[in-house]
Symmetry: C2
Subunit: 314 residues, 2 copies
Protein backbone atom coordinates (compact mmCIF):
# COMPACT_ATOMS: atom_id res chain seq x y z
CA UNK A 1 0.00 0.00 0.00
CA UNK A 2 1.40 3.39 -0.89
CA UNK A 3 1.74 5.96 1.83
CA UNK A 4 -0.81 8.79 1.92
CA UNK A 5 0.56 11.90 0.22
CA UNK A 6 0.97 15.20 2.06
CA UNK A 7 2.05 18.26 0.08
CA UNK A 8 4.53 20.56 1.79
CA UNK A 9 5.09 24.24 1.03
CA UNK A 10 8.08 26.08 2.41
CA UNK A 11 7.44 29.75 3.17
CA UNK A 12 10.75 30.72 4.81
CA UNK A 13 12.08 32.81 1.90
CA UNK A 14 9.02 35.07 2.25
CA UNK A 15 7.40 34.64 5.65
CA UNK A 16 10.72 33.96 7.39
CA UNK A 17 13.18 36.35 5.77
CA UNK A 18 10.80 39.34 5.92
CA UNK A 19 10.88 39.12 9.71
CA UNK A 20 14.66 39.20 10.05
CA UNK A 21 16.50 42.28 11.17
CA UNK A 22 19.51 41.61 8.97
CA UNK A 23 19.15 41.89 5.20
CA UNK A 24 19.68 38.46 3.68
CA UNK A 25 21.71 39.12 0.54
CA UNK A 26 20.12 38.33 -2.81
CA UNK A 27 22.84 35.72 -3.42
CA UNK A 28 21.95 33.98 -0.18
CA UNK A 29 18.21 34.14 -0.86
CA UNK A 30 18.71 32.59 -4.30
CA UNK A 31 21.01 29.92 -2.85
CA UNK A 32 18.49 28.96 -0.13
CA UNK A 33 15.57 28.85 -2.57
CA UNK A 34 17.61 26.78 -5.04
CA UNK A 35 18.58 24.39 -2.25
CA UNK A 36 14.92 24.13 -1.15
CA UNK A 37 14.00 23.41 -4.77
CA UNK A 38 16.15 20.26 -4.56
CA UNK A 39 14.34 18.99 -1.44
CA UNK A 40 11.04 17.92 -2.94
CA UNK A 41 8.56 20.63 -1.96
CA UNK A 42 5.26 21.00 -3.79
CA UNK A 43 5.50 24.77 -3.44
CA UNK A 44 7.95 27.43 -2.30
CA UNK A 45 6.89 30.95 -1.32
CA UNK A 46 9.86 32.76 -2.77
CA UNK A 47 9.31 36.43 -2.01
CA UNK A 48 6.78 39.25 -1.72
CA UNK A 49 6.00 41.99 -4.24
CA UNK A 50 5.15 44.43 -1.51
CA UNK A 51 6.43 47.98 -1.58
CA UNK A 52 10.21 47.95 -0.93
CA UNK A 53 9.59 50.75 1.56
CA UNK A 54 7.07 48.66 3.52
CA UNK A 55 9.24 45.54 3.59
CA UNK A 56 12.83 46.42 2.73
CA UNK A 57 13.94 42.88 3.61
CA UNK A 58 12.34 41.69 0.36
CA UNK A 59 13.16 44.69 -1.83
CA UNK A 60 15.02 42.39 -4.23
CA UNK A 61 11.91 40.42 -5.24
CA UNK A 62 12.43 40.80 -9.03
CA UNK A 63 16.08 39.85 -8.92
CA UNK A 64 15.36 36.81 -6.72
CA UNK A 65 12.66 35.59 -9.11
CA UNK A 66 14.87 36.11 -12.16
CA UNK A 67 17.88 34.34 -10.69
CA UNK A 68 16.41 31.23 -9.01
CA UNK A 69 16.59 27.93 -10.89
CA UNK A 70 13.02 26.72 -11.35
CA UNK A 71 12.71 23.05 -10.58
CA UNK A 72 10.05 21.13 -12.54
CA UNK A 73 7.32 19.96 -10.18
CA UNK A 74 7.84 22.84 -7.75
CA UNK A 75 5.40 25.74 -7.81
CA UNK A 76 6.88 29.15 -7.05
CA UNK A 77 4.43 31.42 -5.31
CA UNK A 78 4.84 35.03 -4.26
CA UNK A 79 2.88 37.32 -1.99
CA UNK A 80 1.07 40.07 -3.90
CA UNK A 81 -0.64 42.87 -1.95
CA UNK A 82 -2.00 45.05 -4.78
CA UNK A 83 -2.25 45.68 -8.55
CA UNK A 84 1.23 47.24 -8.68
CA UNK A 85 2.66 44.12 -7.04
CA UNK A 86 0.78 41.93 -9.51
CA UNK A 87 2.32 43.77 -12.46
CA UNK A 88 5.81 43.44 -11.00
CA UNK A 89 5.29 39.74 -10.27
CA UNK A 90 3.87 38.98 -13.72
CA UNK A 91 7.01 40.41 -15.32
CA UNK A 92 9.06 37.77 -13.47
CA UNK A 93 7.08 34.67 -14.35
CA UNK A 94 5.40 33.16 -11.30
CA UNK A 95 3.28 30.05 -10.88
CA UNK A 96 0.99 31.38 -8.20
CA UNK A 97 -0.05 34.67 -6.65
CA UNK A 98 -0.65 34.54 -2.92
CA UNK A 99 -3.13 37.24 -1.83
CA UNK A 100 -3.64 38.00 1.84
CA UNK A 101 -6.33 39.46 4.02
CA UNK A 102 -7.50 38.87 7.59
CA UNK A 103 -10.69 37.28 8.82
CA UNK A 104 -10.47 39.66 11.76
CA UNK A 105 -11.56 43.23 11.03
CA UNK A 106 -9.26 44.62 13.70
CA UNK A 107 -6.24 42.64 12.52
CA UNK A 108 -6.91 43.52 8.90
CA UNK A 109 -6.91 47.21 9.77
CA UNK A 110 -3.80 46.90 11.93
CA UNK A 111 -1.88 44.78 9.44
CA UNK A 112 -3.12 46.08 6.08
CA UNK A 113 -4.37 49.58 6.98
CA UNK A 114 -7.68 48.84 5.27
CA UNK A 115 -11.10 47.55 6.23
CA UNK A 116 -11.85 43.98 5.25
CA UNK A 117 -14.20 45.27 2.54
CA UNK A 118 -11.44 47.42 1.10
CA UNK A 119 -9.05 44.47 1.19
CA UNK A 120 -11.57 42.16 -0.43
CA UNK A 121 -12.09 44.71 -3.21
CA UNK A 122 -8.37 45.12 -3.73
CA UNK A 123 -7.93 41.35 -3.90
CA UNK A 124 -10.78 41.13 -6.41
CA UNK A 125 -8.96 43.60 -8.65
CA UNK A 126 -5.81 41.49 -8.52
CA UNK A 127 -7.84 38.35 -9.23
CA UNK A 128 -9.33 40.05 -12.30
CA UNK A 129 -5.92 41.22 -13.44
CA UNK A 130 -4.62 37.67 -13.26
CA UNK A 131 -7.71 35.99 -14.72
CA UNK A 132 -6.31 35.93 -18.26
CA UNK A 133 -2.85 34.79 -17.20
CA UNK A 134 -1.64 31.27 -16.46
CA UNK A 135 -0.94 32.32 -12.89
CA UNK A 136 -2.90 30.45 -10.22
CA UNK A 137 -4.43 32.46 -7.37
CA UNK A 138 -4.27 31.49 -3.71
CA UNK A 139 -6.02 33.55 -1.07
CA UNK A 140 -4.52 33.37 2.42
CA UNK A 141 -6.96 34.20 5.19
CA UNK A 142 -5.02 35.42 8.24
CA UNK A 143 -6.24 35.04 11.83
CA UNK A 144 -8.62 32.26 10.73
CA UNK A 145 -8.20 30.53 14.10
CA UNK A 146 -8.16 33.57 16.34
CA UNK A 147 -7.10 37.21 16.46
CA UNK A 148 -4.59 38.56 18.98
CA UNK A 149 -6.73 41.67 19.36
CA UNK A 150 -10.31 40.34 19.00
CA UNK A 151 -9.83 36.88 20.50
CA UNK A 152 -12.00 34.13 19.06
CA UNK A 153 -13.01 34.39 15.41
CA UNK A 154 -16.39 33.01 14.38
CA UNK A 155 -16.07 30.03 12.08
CA UNK A 156 -18.94 31.49 10.07
CA UNK A 157 -16.72 34.49 9.26
CA UNK A 158 -14.02 32.19 7.92
CA UNK A 159 -16.52 30.31 5.78
CA UNK A 160 -18.12 33.55 4.57
CA UNK A 161 -14.77 34.77 3.21
CA UNK A 162 -13.98 31.40 1.65
CA UNK A 163 -17.34 31.58 -0.11
CA UNK A 164 -16.69 35.16 -1.22
CA UNK A 165 -13.48 34.14 -2.98
CA UNK A 166 -14.78 30.79 -4.22
CA UNK A 167 -17.48 32.76 -6.07
CA UNK A 168 -14.69 34.65 -7.81
CA UNK A 169 -13.41 31.30 -9.00
CA UNK A 170 -10.52 31.18 -6.54
CA UNK A 171 -9.69 27.49 -6.19
CA UNK A 172 -6.93 27.70 -3.60
CA UNK A 173 -7.42 29.00 -0.07
CA UNK A 174 -5.01 28.98 2.87
CA UNK A 175 -6.37 29.18 6.38
CA UNK A 176 -3.67 30.82 8.45
CA UNK A 177 -3.12 30.66 12.19
CA UNK A 178 -1.20 33.92 12.11
CA UNK A 179 -0.40 34.18 15.80
CA UNK A 180 -0.56 30.56 16.96
CA UNK A 181 -4.05 30.49 18.47
CA UNK A 182 -5.30 27.31 16.79
CA UNK A 183 -5.84 24.12 18.75
CA UNK A 184 -6.46 20.60 17.50
CA UNK A 185 -10.19 20.13 18.06
CA UNK A 186 -10.85 23.57 16.55
CA UNK A 187 -8.64 22.78 13.56
CA UNK A 188 -10.41 19.47 12.99
CA UNK A 189 -13.79 21.16 13.10
CA UNK A 190 -12.93 24.06 10.78
CA UNK A 191 -11.19 21.69 8.37
CA UNK A 192 -14.22 19.40 8.17
CA UNK A 193 -16.60 22.32 7.66
CA UNK A 194 -14.42 23.92 5.01
CA UNK A 195 -13.88 20.66 3.09
CA UNK A 196 -17.56 19.76 3.22
CA UNK A 197 -18.80 23.23 2.25
CA UNK A 198 -16.28 23.84 -0.53
CA UNK A 199 -15.33 20.50 -2.06
CA UNK A 200 -13.81 22.16 -5.15
CA UNK A 201 -11.43 24.37 -3.16
CA UNK A 202 -7.93 23.12 -2.41
CA UNK A 203 -7.15 24.13 1.16
CA UNK A 204 -3.74 24.73 2.67
CA UNK A 205 -3.37 25.05 6.44
CA UNK A 206 -0.74 27.39 7.79
CA UNK A 207 0.18 27.05 11.45
CA UNK A 208 2.43 28.93 13.83
CA UNK A 209 4.02 27.26 16.83
CA UNK A 210 3.60 30.24 19.15
CA UNK A 211 2.00 28.12 21.88
CA UNK A 212 3.59 24.77 21.03
CA UNK A 213 0.63 23.44 19.04
CA UNK A 214 1.73 23.54 15.40
CA UNK A 215 2.56 19.84 15.15
CA UNK A 216 -0.63 18.71 16.89
CA UNK A 217 -2.63 21.02 14.62
CA UNK A 218 -1.06 19.52 11.50
CA UNK A 219 -2.09 16.03 12.65
CA UNK A 220 -5.61 17.23 13.48
CA UNK A 221 -5.96 18.83 10.04
CA UNK A 222 -4.78 15.61 8.34
CA UNK A 223 -7.39 13.75 10.39
CA UNK A 224 -9.98 15.95 8.73
CA UNK A 225 -8.65 15.40 5.24
CA UNK A 226 -6.31 18.37 4.73
CA UNK A 227 -3.22 17.41 2.74
CA UNK A 228 -1.35 20.69 2.13
CA UNK A 229 0.66 22.58 4.72
CA UNK A 230 2.77 25.68 4.83
CA UNK A 231 5.79 25.53 7.09
CA UNK A 232 8.99 27.49 7.37
CA UNK A 233 12.56 26.22 7.16
CA UNK A 234 14.13 26.35 10.61
CA UNK A 235 10.87 27.63 12.08
CA UNK A 236 11.77 31.13 10.86
CA UNK A 237 9.12 33.82 11.07
CA UNK A 238 8.04 35.40 14.29
CA UNK A 239 4.98 36.74 15.92
CA UNK A 240 4.99 40.43 16.86
CA UNK A 241 2.62 39.71 19.74
CA UNK A 242 4.88 37.16 21.45
CA UNK A 243 8.52 38.25 21.38
CA UNK A 244 10.82 35.26 21.74
CA UNK A 245 8.11 32.67 21.07
CA UNK A 246 8.42 30.22 18.20
CA UNK A 247 7.26 31.37 14.81
CA UNK A 248 5.94 29.41 11.87
CA UNK A 249 5.60 25.66 12.05
CA UNK A 250 9.12 24.39 11.43
CA UNK A 251 9.30 22.54 8.11
CA UNK A 252 11.85 19.94 9.17
CA UNK A 253 9.90 19.23 12.38
CA UNK A 254 6.69 18.71 10.39
CA UNK A 255 8.43 16.55 7.77
CA UNK A 256 10.19 14.47 10.46
CA UNK A 257 6.87 13.88 12.22
CA UNK A 258 4.93 13.05 9.05
CA UNK A 259 7.62 10.63 7.90
CA UNK A 260 7.37 8.80 11.24
CA UNK A 261 3.58 8.81 11.01
CA UNK A 262 3.77 7.01 7.68
CA UNK A 263 3.04 9.84 5.24
CA UNK A 264 4.84 10.57 2.00
CA UNK A 265 5.75 14.25 1.98
CA UNK A 266 8.07 13.95 -0.99
CA UNK A 267 10.62 15.96 1.01
CA UNK A 268 14.14 14.65 1.57
CA UNK A 269 14.64 15.30 5.29
CA UNK A 270 18.41 14.96 5.21
CA UNK A 271 18.78 17.54 2.43
CA UNK A 272 16.29 19.77 4.20
CA UNK A 273 18.19 19.75 7.49
CA UNK A 274 21.38 20.59 5.59
CA UNK A 275 19.64 23.70 4.23
CA UNK A 276 18.31 24.63 7.68
CA UNK A 277 21.86 24.35 9.03
CA UNK A 278 22.85 27.32 6.85
CA UNK A 279 20.26 29.63 8.42
CA UNK A 280 21.82 30.65 11.77
CA UNK A 281 24.82 32.19 9.99
CA UNK A 282 22.52 34.05 7.59
CA UNK A 283 20.02 35.37 10.11
CA UNK A 284 22.68 35.82 12.82
CA UNK A 285 20.73 34.13 15.59
CA UNK A 286 19.74 30.73 16.88
CA UNK A 287 16.66 29.28 15.16
CA UNK A 288 13.75 27.38 16.74
CA UNK A 289 14.26 24.13 14.79
CA UNK A 290 14.42 21.18 17.19
CA UNK A 291 15.40 18.80 14.41
CA UNK A 292 18.43 20.91 13.53
CA UNK A 293 19.56 20.62 17.17
CA UNK A 294 18.55 17.04 17.90
CA UNK A 295 18.59 15.33 14.50
CA UNK A 296 16.33 12.54 13.34
CA UNK A 297 15.05 10.38 16.18
CA UNK A 298 17.27 7.52 15.00
CA UNK A 299 20.46 9.57 14.98
CA UNK A 300 22.81 7.44 17.08
CA UNK A 301 24.89 9.00 19.83
CA UNK A 302 27.89 7.72 21.77
CA UNK A 303 27.40 7.37 25.52
CA UNK A 304 28.17 10.77 27.10
CA UNK A 305 31.50 10.68 28.91
CA UNK A 306 30.64 12.60 32.06
CA UNK A 307 27.29 14.21 31.44
CA UNK A 308 25.22 11.54 33.12
CA UNK A 309 25.37 10.25 36.59
CA UNK A 310 23.60 7.62 38.56
CA UNK A 311 19.86 7.85 38.51
CA UNK A 312 19.86 11.10 36.70
CA UNK A 313 17.75 10.51 33.62
CA UNK A 314 14.15 9.37 33.47
Amino acid sequence: MSKPRIYMHDVAPRDGFQNENVFISTDDKVAIIDALSECGFAKIEATSFTSPKAIPALRDAEEVMHRIKRQPGVEYTVLIPNARGAERALSCGIDEANLVMSVSETHNQANLRMTRDQSANQLSQIIETLADSSVAVNVSLSTAFGCPMEGNIAESEVLRLVEHFARQNVKRISLCDTTGMAYPSQVRHIARMAKASFPKVTFTFHFHNTRGLAQSNVLAAIDAGIDRFDASLGGLGGCPYAPGASGNACTEEVVHMLELEGFNTGVDLQKLVAVAARLPALVEHDIPSQILKAGHRLTKHPAPANAQSMGKAA
Copy 2:
Protein backbone atom coordinates in the same frame (compact mmCIF):
# COMPACT_ATOMS: atom_id res chain seq x y z
CA MET B 1 -21.42 16.22 30.89
CA SER B 2 -18.30 16.50 32.98
CA LYS B 3 -15.00 16.89 31.22
CA PRO B 4 -12.72 13.84 31.07
CA ARG B 5 -10.10 13.96 33.83
CA ILE B 6 -6.39 14.02 33.10
CA TYR B 7 -3.95 13.81 36.03
CA MET B 8 -0.88 16.00 35.79
CA HIS B 9 2.42 15.46 37.59
CA ASP B 10 5.02 18.19 37.71
CA VAL B 11 8.60 16.91 37.74
CA ALA B 12 10.53 20.18 37.50
CA PRO B 13 11.78 20.20 41.12
CA ARG B 14 13.55 16.88 40.42
CA ASP B 15 13.96 16.32 36.67
CA GLY B 16 14.38 20.01 35.93
CA PHE B 17 16.48 21.35 38.77
CA GLN B 18 18.96 18.45 38.66
CA ASN B 19 19.94 19.52 35.15
CA GLU B 20 20.72 23.13 36.04
CA ASN B 21 24.25 24.40 36.34
CA VAL B 22 23.41 26.83 39.11
CA PHE B 23 22.44 25.50 42.52
CA ILE B 24 18.84 26.43 43.23
CA SER B 25 18.80 27.40 46.89
CA THR B 26 16.77 25.26 49.29
CA ASP B 27 14.57 28.29 50.02
CA ASP B 28 13.81 28.67 46.33
CA LYS B 29 13.15 24.96 45.87
CA VAL B 30 10.72 24.94 48.77
CA ALA B 31 9.03 28.09 47.48
CA ILE B 32 8.58 26.64 43.98
CA ILE B 33 7.25 23.32 45.29
CA ASP B 34 4.87 25.10 47.66
CA ALA B 35 3.65 27.27 44.78
CA LEU B 36 3.16 24.19 42.59
CA SER B 37 1.22 22.59 45.45
CA GLU B 38 -1.33 25.40 45.12
CA CYS B 39 -1.84 24.79 41.39
CA GLY B 40 -3.82 21.57 41.47
CA PHE B 41 -1.36 18.84 40.50
CA ALA B 42 -2.10 15.20 41.24
CA LYS B 43 1.59 14.62 41.96
CA ILE B 44 4.81 16.57 42.34
CA GLU B 45 8.25 14.98 41.99
CA ALA B 46 9.96 16.97 44.68
CA THR B 47 13.56 15.77 44.74
CA SER B 48 15.89 12.80 44.42
CA PHE B 49 17.56 10.79 47.16
CA THR B 50 20.58 10.09 45.02
CA SER B 51 24.09 10.42 46.38
CA PRO B 52 24.84 14.12 46.93
CA LYS B 53 28.15 13.50 45.16
CA ALA B 54 26.41 12.12 42.07
CA ILE B 55 23.83 14.93 41.88
CA PRO B 56 24.94 17.87 44.00
CA ALA B 57 22.07 19.97 42.64
CA LEU B 58 19.69 17.95 44.82
CA ARG B 59 21.95 17.45 47.83
CA ASP B 60 19.35 19.15 50.03
CA ALA B 61 16.69 16.44 49.50
CA GLU B 62 15.96 15.89 53.24
CA GLU B 63 15.69 19.58 54.01
CA VAL B 64 13.41 20.17 51.04
CA MET B 65 11.10 17.34 52.10
CA HIS B 66 10.99 18.53 55.69
CA ARG B 67 10.26 22.13 54.82
CA ILE B 68 7.63 21.92 52.06
CA LYS B 69 3.98 22.40 52.98
CA ARG B 70 2.14 19.24 52.02
CA GLN B 71 -1.12 20.01 50.28
CA PRO B 72 -3.95 17.49 50.79
CA GLY B 73 -4.73 15.78 47.48
CA VAL B 74 -1.20 16.20 46.14
CA GLU B 75 1.12 13.19 46.17
CA TYR B 76 4.77 13.95 46.81
CA THR B 77 7.06 11.54 45.01
CA VAL B 78 10.85 11.35 45.08
CA LEU B 79 13.39 9.52 42.97
CA ILE B 80 15.10 6.70 44.84
CA PRO B 81 18.06 4.91 43.25
CA ASN B 82 19.01 2.40 45.96
CA ALA B 83 18.39 1.07 49.50
CA ARG B 84 20.35 3.92 51.07
CA GLY B 85 18.15 6.42 49.23
CA ALA B 86 15.04 4.57 50.38
CA GLU B 87 16.11 4.85 54.04
CA ARG B 88 16.80 8.56 53.67
CA ALA B 89 13.47 9.14 51.93
CA LEU B 90 11.47 7.13 54.47
CA SER B 91 12.81 9.32 57.24
CA CYS B 92 11.22 12.35 55.53
CA GLY B 93 7.73 11.02 54.93
CA ILE B 94 7.01 10.56 51.24
CA ASP B 95 3.87 9.43 49.43
CA GLU B 96 5.59 7.62 46.58
CA ALA B 97 9.01 6.25 45.68
CA ASN B 98 9.94 6.64 42.03
CA LEU B 99 12.42 3.95 40.95
CA VAL B 100 14.20 4.21 37.61
CA MET B 101 15.82 1.88 35.15
CA SER B 102 16.18 1.81 31.37
CA VAL B 103 14.58 -0.49 28.86
CA SER B 104 17.76 -0.12 26.82
CA GLU B 105 20.70 -2.18 28.06
CA THR B 106 23.21 0.31 26.68
CA HIS B 107 21.46 3.32 28.18
CA ASN B 108 21.06 1.58 31.52
CA GLN B 109 24.78 0.92 31.66
CA ALA B 110 25.66 4.45 30.52
CA ASN B 111 23.21 6.14 32.88
CA LEU B 112 23.18 3.85 35.91
CA ARG B 113 26.54 2.05 35.57
CA MET B 114 24.79 -1.31 35.94
CA THR B 115 23.35 -3.98 33.69
CA ARG B 116 19.59 -4.06 33.45
CA ASP B 117 19.59 -7.27 35.52
CA GLN B 118 21.59 -5.55 38.25
CA SER B 119 19.22 -2.58 38.16
CA ALA B 120 16.15 -4.80 38.29
CA ASN B 121 17.60 -6.58 41.32
CA GLN B 122 18.42 -3.33 43.05
CA LEU B 123 14.90 -2.05 42.38
CA SER B 124 13.46 -5.31 43.76
CA GLN B 125 15.36 -4.75 47.00
CA ILE B 126 13.91 -1.25 47.32
CA ILE B 127 10.44 -2.58 46.55
CA GLU B 128 10.83 -5.16 49.35
CA THR B 129 12.12 -2.52 51.73
CA LEU B 130 9.04 -0.40 51.07
CA ALA B 131 6.55 -3.27 51.04
CA ASP B 132 5.61 -2.81 54.71
CA SER B 133 5.40 0.96 54.52
CA SER B 134 2.53 3.13 53.33
CA VAL B 135 4.71 4.42 50.52
CA ALA B 136 3.51 3.67 47.00
CA VAL B 137 6.02 2.48 44.42
CA ASN B 138 6.25 3.78 40.88
CA VAL B 139 8.76 2.31 38.43
CA SER B 140 9.90 4.63 35.65
CA LEU B 141 11.16 2.84 32.57
CA SER B 142 13.55 5.11 30.68
CA THR B 143 14.12 4.97 26.92
CA ALA B 144 10.80 3.14 26.49
CA PHE B 145 10.29 4.78 23.09
CA GLY B 146 13.84 4.66 21.79
CA CYS B 147 17.45 4.83 22.94
CA PRO B 148 19.88 7.48 21.74
CA MET B 149 22.60 4.81 21.52
CA GLU B 150 20.67 1.70 20.41
CA GLY B 151 17.97 3.34 18.30
CA ASN B 152 14.62 1.60 18.27
CA ILE B 153 13.57 -0.32 21.37
CA ALA B 154 11.43 -3.41 20.93
CA GLU B 155 7.97 -2.97 22.39
CA SER B 156 8.27 -6.52 23.71
CA GLU B 157 11.17 -5.37 25.91
CA VAL B 158 9.02 -2.62 27.37
CA LEU B 159 6.20 -5.05 28.09
CA ARG B 160 8.62 -7.63 29.51
CA LEU B 161 9.86 -5.12 32.10
CA VAL B 162 6.34 -3.96 32.93
CA GLU B 163 5.43 -7.60 33.55
CA HIS B 164 8.55 -8.12 35.67
CA PHE B 165 7.54 -5.33 38.02
CA ALA B 166 3.81 -6.04 37.90
CA ARG B 167 4.68 -9.50 39.28
CA GLN B 168 6.34 -7.76 42.20
CA ASN B 169 3.03 -6.08 42.87
CA VAL B 170 4.12 -2.72 41.45
CA LYS B 171 0.92 -0.97 40.46
CA ARG B 172 2.34 2.22 38.99
CA ILE B 173 4.58 2.32 35.93
CA SER B 174 5.84 5.32 33.99
CA LEU B 175 6.91 4.88 30.38
CA CYS B 176 9.51 7.54 29.73
CA ASP B 177 10.61 9.03 26.44
CA THR B 178 13.95 10.02 27.93
CA THR B 179 15.45 11.68 24.85
CA GLY B 180 12.40 12.67 22.84
CA MET B 181 12.26 9.80 20.35
CA ALA B 182 8.56 8.94 20.70
CA TYR B 183 6.09 9.70 17.94
CA PRO B 184 2.30 9.65 18.01
CA SER B 185 1.46 6.39 16.22
CA GLN B 186 4.12 4.57 18.26
CA VAL B 187 2.78 6.09 21.50
CA ARG B 188 -0.77 5.10 20.64
CA HIS B 189 0.32 1.52 19.91
CA ILE B 190 2.46 1.06 23.03
CA ALA B 191 -0.24 2.65 25.19
CA ARG B 192 -2.90 0.30 23.85
CA MET B 193 -0.70 -2.75 24.31
CA ALA B 194 0.30 -1.75 27.83
CA LYS B 195 -3.25 -0.95 28.93
CA ALA B 196 -4.65 -4.16 27.45
CA SER B 197 -1.90 -6.39 28.84
CA PHE B 198 -1.79 -4.86 32.32
CA PRO B 199 -5.24 -3.54 33.17
CA LYS B 200 -4.40 -3.29 36.88
CA VAL B 201 -1.35 -1.11 36.36
CA THR B 202 -1.74 2.68 36.44
CA PHE B 203 0.44 4.05 33.66
CA THR B 204 2.00 7.48 33.48
CA PHE B 205 3.52 8.70 30.22
CA HIS B 206 6.55 10.95 30.40
CA PHE B 207 7.52 12.81 27.23
CA HIS B 208 10.36 15.07 26.21
CA ASN B 209 9.97 17.72 23.53
CA THR B 210 13.41 17.19 22.03
CA ARG B 211 12.03 16.89 18.49
CA GLY B 212 8.87 18.96 18.92
CA LEU B 213 6.54 16.02 19.50
CA ALA B 214 5.68 16.10 23.21
CA GLN B 215 2.27 17.69 22.76
CA SER B 216 1.24 15.41 19.90
CA ASN B 217 2.40 12.42 21.93
CA VAL B 218 0.26 13.45 24.90
CA LEU B 219 -2.81 13.61 22.65
CA ALA B 220 -1.97 10.24 21.10
CA ALA B 221 -1.60 8.66 24.55
CA ILE B 222 -4.95 10.10 25.66
CA ASP B 223 -6.47 8.62 22.49
CA ALA B 224 -5.31 5.25 23.77
CA GLY B 225 -6.72 5.75 27.26
CA ILE B 226 -3.72 7.09 29.19
CA ASP B 227 -4.76 9.74 31.74
CA ARG B 228 -1.58 10.55 33.69
CA PHE B 229 1.30 12.64 32.43
CA ASP B 230 4.57 13.90 33.75
CA ALA B 231 5.61 17.33 32.57
CA SER B 232 8.02 19.95 33.79
CA LEU B 233 7.32 23.54 34.77
CA GLY B 234 8.77 25.85 32.12
CA GLY B 235 9.91 22.84 30.09
CA LEU B 236 12.94 22.55 32.38
CA GLY B 237 15.13 19.49 32.05
CA GLY B 238 17.43 18.92 29.15
CA CYS B 239 18.73 16.10 27.04
CA PRO B 240 22.50 15.51 27.12
CA TYR B 241 22.35 14.16 23.57
CA ALA B 242 20.84 17.29 22.05
CA PRO B 243 22.38 20.44 23.51
CA GLY B 244 20.06 23.40 23.12
CA ALA B 245 17.01 21.31 22.26
CA SER B 246 13.87 21.46 24.37
CA GLY B 247 13.70 19.26 27.43
CA ASN B 248 10.74 17.75 29.20
CA ALA B 249 7.25 18.37 27.99
CA CYS B 250 6.40 21.83 29.34
CA THR B 251 3.66 21.61 31.97
CA GLU B 252 1.95 24.88 31.13
CA GLU B 253 1.97 24.03 27.41
CA VAL B 254 0.37 20.64 28.12
CA VAL B 255 -2.20 22.13 30.52
CA HIS B 256 -3.04 24.96 28.08
CA MET B 257 -3.57 22.41 25.28
CA LEU B 258 -5.62 20.01 27.38
CA GLU B 259 -7.83 22.81 28.66
CA LEU B 260 -8.55 23.85 25.05
CA GLU B 261 -9.21 20.25 24.09
CA GLY B 262 -11.88 20.01 26.76
CA PHE B 263 -10.11 18.04 29.49
CA ASN B 264 -10.15 18.74 33.19
CA THR B 265 -6.55 18.70 34.41
CA GLY B 266 -7.39 20.21 37.79
CA VAL B 267 -4.51 22.63 37.24
CA ASP B 268 -5.00 26.39 37.46
CA LEU B 269 -3.17 27.63 34.38
CA GLN B 270 -2.92 31.23 35.54
CA LYS B 271 -1.31 30.27 38.85
CA LEU B 272 0.95 27.84 37.03
CA VAL B 273 2.24 30.45 34.59
CA ALA B 274 2.93 32.76 37.51
CA VAL B 275 5.16 30.05 39.01
CA ALA B 276 6.90 29.44 35.66
CA ALA B 277 7.61 33.18 35.45
CA ARG B 278 9.86 32.85 38.51
CA LEU B 279 12.13 30.27 36.85
CA PRO B 280 14.34 32.33 34.51
CA ALA B 281 15.72 34.32 37.45
CA LEU B 282 16.35 31.12 39.42
CA VAL B 283 17.99 29.09 36.66
CA GLU B 284 19.65 32.16 35.11
CA HIS B 285 18.65 31.42 31.54
CA ASP B 286 15.70 31.63 29.19
CA ILE B 287 13.33 28.66 29.48
CA PRO B 288 11.56 26.79 26.63
CA SER B 289 7.99 27.54 27.79
CA GLN B 290 6.00 29.01 24.89
CA ILE B 291 3.06 29.80 27.14
CA LEU B 292 5.24 31.91 29.41
CA LYS B 293 6.26 33.96 26.36
CA ALA B 294 2.97 34.04 24.48
CA GLY B 295 0.33 33.65 27.18
CA HIS B 296 -3.02 31.89 26.85
CA ARG B 297 -4.36 31.91 23.31
CA LEU B 298 -7.05 34.38 24.36
CA THR B 299 -4.63 36.89 25.88
CA LYS B 300 -5.61 40.12 24.16
CA HIS B 301 -2.97 42.40 22.68
CA PRO B 302 -3.10 46.00 21.50
CA ALA B 303 -2.34 46.55 17.82
CA PRO B 304 1.44 46.88 17.47
CA ALA B 305 2.42 50.49 16.80
CA ASN B 306 5.04 50.01 14.11
CA ALA B 307 5.81 46.32 14.05
CA GLN B 308 3.50 45.43 11.22
CA SER B 309 3.38 46.77 7.75
CA MET B 310 1.29 46.21 4.71
CA GLY B 311 0.95 42.62 3.63
CA LYS B 312 3.43 41.42 6.17
CA ALA B 313 1.61 38.82 8.19
CA ALA B 314 -0.07 35.66 6.92
